[in-house]
Subunit: 66 residues, 6 copies
């Protein structure tokens, strides 16, 4: 009955990609730890690039230079 929370920056993640991620993580927990997929919960949080900082800087700023 694992609970997995995945936080990524909000940058146009499609519903199909989310489905793929949920399926993949649930499968990984089954193969590595033998966890039951039926009670594995995955929650994806999409965070605005203004609200995510790394290296003391907003991702919004980081993206401008990339």
């Amino acid at each position: 009955m694992p609970y997995v929370n995945i936080k990524v920056t909000r940058e146009g993640l499609s519903s199909e990609k989310k489905a793929e991620l949920i399926k993949g993580v649930t499968e990984l927990l089954r193969t590595t730890l033998g966890k039951n997929p039926a009670t594995t919960v995955v929650v994806i949080d999409e965070v605005d690039t203004d609200n995510w900082g790394i290296g003391g800087e907003q991702v919004t700023e980081l993206r401008k230079r990339q």
Copy 2:
């Protein structure tokens, strides 16, 4: 001074229901653990059904079959 985080799928939860939930959890922590309501914090996160997975599947898909 407990901190409670409640995550539910975003499916039309009214403000009244949220108030009821906040009041109920705060009261429960007072009656079971003797925690002071004044410093009990409750945060409700509503998560899109596309972003919530159980059994390796998005709740969006699950709801279609229910």
Copy 3:
């Protein structure tokens, strides 16, 4: 399928009290929001009083004055 995380200071919470809390929160989500108890997950985190701050101060210090 709600997920609830309850954080309290680590101050001798018995297993019976934890059971009572888990049961109470699960029941509250059923009665207020109609959530299915079977897939309601509750995780209790006990946090050392040295690691919990309120008012800019550790709870350890706060307890000494109470």
Copy 4:
């Protein structure tokens, strides 16, 4: 490589203020704990006042009386 999550009520926080907060927390972790800013992650969550409770009451209600 610390991870910091800051939850505040959603009440018009500007992008500039968020940048200031990210910079400040990252700097604080460097000066107090010697943590490397390059791998310090800060995530800010803005929570609707209807979804935040303190003292058993929604912040929305609290704000009306202030």
Copy 5:
């Protein structure tokens, strides 16, 4: 730069299994979302079975019947 938090019950997870899980999740985020492994953070929380509830019951009790 995703952040992933995995919560499982504390039931003798070896360091090797944790390493496998960290590697697997990081790789999954690279292949499904194109995320850079270098800044992908994974934190595993092991939770006592007394502190984890499902179906209104502690996992400790659940395990006794399994």
Copy 6:
């Protein structure tokens, strides 16, 4: 009434350093956002280096090479 959660690797953080961190974050939220220190909550989680991954690798392994 902000809630701040700081996760760092468990590597001998003293009680004094935790107090300094709690005080510093609370003060930062007051000066940047005007938040009331009295209701600012800070929770520090110390995570075993085996349970923290970056770049697909446990911090335990990373530390051996540093």
